[in-house]
Symmetry: C2
Subunit: 157 residues, 2 copies
Amino acid sequence: MDRPEDNIWMHCSSSSVRRASRQLSQLYDDIIGGIGLRGTQFSLLTQILYGNEPTQKSLAEAMVMDLSALGHTLKPLIRDGLVELVPDEKDRRAKRVRLTDVGSALQADLVEKWREAQSRFDAVLGIEKSEELRRTLAFISSAEFAQAFEKTGKTGD
Amino acid sequence: MDRPEDNIWMHCSSSSVRRASRQLSQLYDDIIGGIGLRGTQFSLLTQILYGNEPTQKSLAEAMVMDLSALGHTLKPLIRDGLVELVPDEKDRRAKRVRLTDVGSALQADLVEKWREAQSRFDAVLGIEKSEELRRTLAFISSAEFAQAFEKTGKTGD
DNA sequence: CAAATATAGTGGTATATGCCAGTAAAATCC
DNA sequence: GGATTTTACTGGCATATACCACTATATTTG
């Protein structure tokens, strides 16, 4: 209908991010998704891999995701045998998330494909803007940002 | 668990955008969502308002969203009487999307709240980085970007 | 220690979003 | 003009994600 520059919605940061999110998920999934895993699932697997057997709680925090949302998202991965939950020794409420061997193998496989997608991204946007963007987005995703956003109340916080 | 800077996932653009998307949806919704509409729905209403009675197809394109996804997303809005679909005169396949009076009124209401959220965002990130970010995201969301991404051969890594 | 409170997860419900397989109405091609 | 192809949408199914209410387990308090 018209180009994004003409679009009033370039004004809304939240919409902008969501829209870009749809586009990138699409693009990355076209490359990564062949095996049947979506980009979100891949990033979850990777986060689990590097997360030192995180509890669901801490995993959710790292993903900036609601705990129950994480739980739901994990279900298909557990069902398909890529991930397992093990009760924490000390705290019987907590369950730690861990990759199965199959999950690890799949993750390793996908890393290669991810690299391809990521390098395309860097190539198209330019490596500098690309890194700058990720820094900015990391800040936006941080707890500091959320706190500042909430405090920046109209008059005296 | 750790700060986002420590996170290997700062390396993935797609995850970064998704994570930021969750954070911002959350933050904006806390301000906008009081009346019961989510940010996504608000941006949809606004896009419809400015879209000159778009067909679902063109609306989906503007939103960088799958057509069927748009259809699903519109359902609750139609059910709640904020939006209506009118068959196109010329092309009987097409249906144009239009705000009802209730929808327009609600949209207008929410614009005020949105402004508050947006100004907080600009305040926390800084207006310049904020605008730069939106420009970058608009580019990422564009068809040009998608084409370039798809064309950029693997040689480029 | 028992009661009150806080924390970690689970399950239900609802929206968000995508893919695929139809259906119906153009548009195109003999 | 009828068969083929393309286009615009619909419906079903699956994942993504959030909120709320509930349960089980810890932690804090009196």
